[in-house]
């Protein structure tokens, strides 16, 4: 099939899809199904030959392509025709020029920590960005770092710590890549203070979908910068990034325990507004044991908080909460199994949140490691399903409570993870068509709803139905989502509206005429 005269690749079923982000957008397959249609390999042989002539190494053996067969979600499966390990910007530029010419889809992948198949290639080229994972330069005086885009946050932290520095904020899972995170947002337990991870980007080197290498920032090529930040990989590949960093400080942690989701969420939002703590977030065991985490970068901040804010929190200390919970289950012996689960989970999880060799004098010295390892050990698995809702503050309690009810309906065990994201007025343009809801002011709030799947088998249909039901709450309330790409892209138009989607679709068609870069992630 010849697609060269089309502004958008044709479906193998005939006509090009009318709208790539419609509710049934996955090109000819119903919304309840998941993977998009596989690219059929038109002009692949000519493309490979052109790549060879350009000196770009492409691996196409099954054991090379199979390495990337799925993402952290473990629900979307697809094989690329070939894999390119990213080495430098000119190499990627050459790849993109030829991919554009031969209309070959290119899917970028960093840590592969997407859950909706966004970093899975359904044919075409998989570009493994982890090949570009070196720190270029640390400027201690200016508090900035220049790094390659494929670096894991953990490795960036490793280099920064040698200089007594730390990144501002990064996802808890530190095998996320910097480029991937800047492309979607990234939330941390200090996002209520520093904003989303993408907010720390000062400048980027980007390879555009047509293969130009462009340096951009809010001052230089601002429009490209605004589109690439939180752009879900639609407008360019981040090959290098300059990030704001800060002096490293250990963490002084406090946990408060709640039996009511509403109380915990309201307290979280209230302490965020006071800006009296440096880290805050909620982590739950179902809706039975809700933990509000509060932490500080300095003794002074900690002391001031404990003096003025602690008494306003409705959460309990560990022992009073344990007694209260024990009393609750003593009166409900038929829920013994649930009580045992909570007890067991606490016994397993809590020591890993304060391992002795990552603590010093009661302070956590390596939050980067502690949280990341705990995430993999206690929440990781072959399949991960983490639908989320990102809302304005006034819709957040309802979002969490309604999402919790859905979790309860589908799964006996689950976790909710809630954080605030401080919005930067000067970054408003970055937030368009992103996880940041358009009606949020001051702070946006995110809640992830993660079932504890363990080794239990769940059909993809059941998991997809669960995700859809969570996302339907978002449509009803008028929120956004963090994970709205890939398998969930059918929600984009319904959640964010036609006007902004059409605007971005038009920009995408101009920037990427063959619509090849990260196809099916959004457009």
């Amino acid at each position: 099939m010849n697609n060269q005269n089309s502004t958008y690749p044709r479906s193998t079923h005939g006509a090009p899809p009318p709208c790539p982000v419609a509710a049934d957008a996955l090109q000819g397959i119903p919304r309840q199904q998941t993977n998009p249609e596989r690219w059929q390999g038109e002009q692949w042989a000519s493309f490979v030959s052109a790549l060879q002539q350009a000196g770009v190494e492409l691996r196409s053996a099954q054991h090379n392509t199979g390495t990337y067969v799925t993402d952290a979600g473990g629900l979307a499966y697809g094989m690329p025709h070939g894999v390119v390990i990213a080495r430098n910007a000119p190499q990627i530029a050459a790849l993109m020029q030829l991919a554009q010419q031969y209309r070959v889809p290119v899917t970028t992948r960093g840590g592969g920590l997407t859950t909706e198949g966004e970093s899975v290639a359904f044919g075409g080229v998989l570009l493994d960005m982890t090949g570009m994972s070196r720190v270029r330069h640390i400027d201690k005086a200016a508090l900035t770092v220049r790094t390659e885009g494929g670096i894991f946050w953990h490795l960036l932290a490793e280099s920064l710590r040698r200089e007594g520095l730390d990144y501002l904020s990064a996802p808890l899972n530190l095998t996320s890549s910097v480029g991937g995170t800047l492309g979607v947002g990234g939330i941390d337990v200090n996002s209520s203070k520093h904003g989303c991870s993408a907010d720390q980007a000062l400048a980027l080197q980007v390879v555009t979908p047509t293969g130009e290498i462009v340096e951009c920032s809010d001052e230089e090529n601002a429009e490209l910068f605004q589109r690439v930040i939180l752009g879900y990989g639609q407008f360019g590949i981040i090959t290098e990034a300059t990030l704001r960093v800060r002096p490293y400080t250990p963490l002084r942690m406090h946990y408060f325990y709640y039996g009511s989701l509403r109380d915990a969420v309201e307290d979280l939002m209230r302490i965020d507004r006071t800006q009296t703590c440096d880290y805050s977030g909620i982590l739950t065991m179902m809706d039975k044991a809700i933990t509000l985490l509060v932490a500080f970068d300095s003794d002074e901040r900690e002391a001031a908080f404990l003096k003025h804010q602690r008494k306003t929190l409705r959460g309990y200390g560990e022992l009073p909460f344990a007694i209260r919970t024990a009393a609750y289950y003593a009166l409900r012996p038929w829920r013994l199994k649930e009580a045992l689960y909570l007890y067991q989970r606490k016994r397993e999880l809590f020591p890993d949140l304060q391992p002795a060799h990552h603590m010093q004098g009661g302070e956590m010295i390596d939050r980067t490691v502690v949280f990341s390892r705990a995430v993999w050990k206690h929440w990781g698995g072959r399949q991960m399903v983490i639908p989320d809702i990102a809302s304005s503050a006034d819709k957040f309690v309802a979002s969490v409570e309604r999402g919790n009810a859905v979790c309860k309906k589908y799964f006996p065990h689950y976790t909710l993870y809630c954080v605030g994201i401080k919005l930067r007025a000067e970054h408003q343009a970055h937030y368009e068509l992103s996880c940041i809801p358009p009606d949020a002011e001051g702070w946006a709030y995110g809640c992830e709803f993660e079932p504890m799947l363990g080794d239990t088998h769940h059909s993809r249909d059941q998991l997809q139905s669960f995700k859809n039901e969570i996302y339907d709450i978002g449509v009803d309330l008028g929120t956004s989502y963090y994970r709205f790409g890939g398998m969930m892209k059918g929600y984009i138009r319904r959640a964010l509206g036609d006007e902004v989607v059409d605007k971005h679709l038009e920009m995408k068609r101009q920037a990427d005429p063959a619509m090849i870069l990260n196809r099916n992630v959004i457009f």
Binding site: V69, T70, I85, G111, T130, E158, S159
Partner: protein, 320 residues
């Protein structure tokens, strides 16, 4: 084999020296295991298989608790059996010594220092003196370096050679072993004997450690450290806090190896110069103190700071 359990989380990459050098997932436990899950022939993963230093950091990181280094050793054996790396196998086999008839050592405590430390007689004398405080420690006549190399490479060790190495050690109650891989094997072969890592044992002696300062970078021997991680991490963490010295522990609290010695010397794949630079990166130190003689040789090549074996923190053997 347990490689089928790998689901590609990438945690093993974080402390992996071969991934750090290549920046290519193929050169990582994840890459090797994923390739095998997708039907790779041994020949297709041989370069990565033989680049692994078997430092053991990944064993601690894997959330699936896959015995990564054990699997890699098994795969190396399989690669040799299927005809891969014939020349390397031959060379290692040629290094395996002929069995000798060694009498049992008349000592309760024996030190197996390894060839590199043995080539530093003054230091070795101090090591022997330091470890002889409770009972006289004698030096093994056979360092078993060939056995350690065969273990690392996955080459079969004849029963005769193994017997000739173990026989003189049978009577000992305690063995101090410099090589982490040999230590691991000896624990299986001599289950009734107390087997201690040489470097770790020296690092427990306060007359040495009190001489460490905040201007020192202390290099922990990676394999032995990872082998007994639960025990060693607490000890070295205390050492770091008490003395203020820097160490070669990364953020995951895994030891960064220098890549010196063993198979990487015979069949170089990991650049030990680059490893040394990475260990030093960001640390402004006046001295480098090592537990392992090979690490000392590698760090001395960088010509940056004076490099001392931990035993050399004691000026004279008779100071002990």
């Amino acid at each position: 084999m347990s490689h089928t359990k790998c689901h590609g989380c990438s945690l093993c990459l974080l402390s992996c020296p071969m991934w750090r050098q290549e920046r290519d997932v193929q050169y990582s436990p994840q890459g090797i295991f994923k390739a095998l899950q997708h039907n790779a022939a041994l020949s297709e993963i041989t370069p990565a298989l033989f680049s692994c230093l078997l430092c053991g950091a990944c064993d601690l990181l894997c959330p699936e608790q896959i015995d990564i280094t054990g699997t890699i050793k098994t795969l190396r054996r399989a690669a040799f059996s299927s005809g891969e790396h014939r020349a390397l196998k031959k060379e290692i086999e040629s290094q395996l010594k002929r069995p000798t008839t060694e009498a049992k050592a008349e000592a309760n405590t024996i030190i197996i220092p390894g060839g590199a430390l043995r080539s530093m007689p003054a230091t070795l004398t101090k090591v022997q003196a330091l470890l002889s405080r409770e009972a006289r420690a004698v030096l093994a006549k056979d360092d078993g370096d060939d056995i350690a190399l065969a273990l690392e490479a996955g080459v079969e060790i004849s029963e005769h050679r193994r017997h000739s190495f173990l026989e003189p050690l049978q009577g000992a109650k305690r063995l101090y072993v410099s090589n982490g891989l040999l230590l691991q094997a000896l624990r299986k072969w001599l289950p009734a004997t107390a087997l201690c890592a040489l470097g770790y044992s020296l690092s427990q002696l306060s007359e040495l450690t009190t001489k460490l300062t905040s201007d020192d970078l202390y290099l922990i021997e990676a394999r032995a450290f990872h082998l007994d991680h639960q025990q060693t991490i607490t000890h070295y963490d205390q050492l770091r806090h008490q003395q203020g010295c820097r160490t070669n522990l990364d953020l995951q609290r895994n030891a960064i190896p220098t890549a010196a010695g063993g198979l990487n010397t015979l069949h170089p794949t990991i650049d030990s110069h680059a490893q040394g630079r990475w260990i030093l990166n960001g640390h402004r130190v006046a001295r480098i103190i090592v537990e392992c003689a090979e690490d000392g040789q590698a760090m001395a090549q960088l010509n940056e700071q004076p490099v001392l074996h931990i035993a050399d923190l004691m000026e004279h053997a008779n100071d002990v």
